[in-house]
């Protein structure tokens, strides 16, 4: 089945130690998104790629970066994680022009020690 895959599902890192979260998709969608979701809060968009074009949200901290080496993969890099970065990170995809529905992965829960 076509899907959005996130690895790992759980990630533990140390304060200040760089960490990378991975997302892949078999849907061949041209738009990929990263959301941060803290406990009992709404998912908050960090940035998205429209094809190869990177679009950062205005309030996304500089600590967060992203890479999209090809259509299928997208990475979220947190350069120096702080305790406040502990959250669920959701990847989503959509095909622009096809009714805008976003398809979500299962998320990666990040714990910062």
């Amino acid at each position: 089945d076509a899907m959005v895959i996130q690895n790992p599902r759980y990630q533990v890192t140390q304060f200040g130690k760089p960490v990378t979260l991975s997302c892949s998709q078999t849907l061949n969608h041209n738009v990929m998104y990263w959301y941060q979701q803290k406990s009992s809060q709404a998912p908050k968009l960090l940035f998205h790629y429209y094809d190869k074009d990177f679009n950062n949200e205005a309030d996304t901290p500089d600590n967060f970066q992203s890479r999209r080496p090809n259509t299928s993969f997208c990475f979220l890099d947190i350069r120096s994680p702080g305790l406040g970065d502990a959250a669920m990170y959701l990847c989503a995809t959509s095909r622009q022009g096809q009714q805008e529905t976003q398809y979500f992965g299962p998320g990666t829960r990040l714990l910062v020690l």
């Binding site: 998912p43 998205h48 959701l90 959509s94 979500f104």
Partner: protein
């Protein structure tokens, strides 16, 4: 700025009964979509139903239907014949290719 408001942090419904989850929104977009996503515990978000803002007819998807009041910027979700599997966090959202979500409503289904 776009906003989505869900005023009910938690709702309960008896199995087989009907429940309505509320959502209001504000947007400056002229052409946009409205969504309800379901997020079961420790599982991924799944689209429940969506509505194109230019359509007057309310969307329906099996036991799920919406009441879309464009002038009032209201977009409520009705779940009929509630099932235990409907228990989840429900997020209302608005947008075009970028979404804004509300803070969610946790739905409990009582056997």
């Amino acid at each position: 700025a776009q906003t989505v408001t869900q005023s009910q942090p938690e709702m309960s419904v008896q199995e087989a009964e009907t429940v309505t989850l509320s959502c209001t929104y504000d947007t400056s977009e002229s052409d946009y979509y409205l969504f309800w996503y379901k997020q079961p515990p420790s599982r991924q978000m799944i689209l429940v139903i969506r509505q194109e803002a230019y359509k007057q007819q309310n969307a329906t998807e099996n036991r799920f239907s919406v009441n879309f009041q464009k002038a009032a910027k209201s977009f409520s979700l009705k779940i009929s014949d509630s099932q235990l599997g409907d228990a989840a966090m429900y997020f209302c959202g608005s947008g075009t290719y970028k979404y804004i979500f509300g803070t969610g409503t946790r739905l409990k289904v009582l056997a």
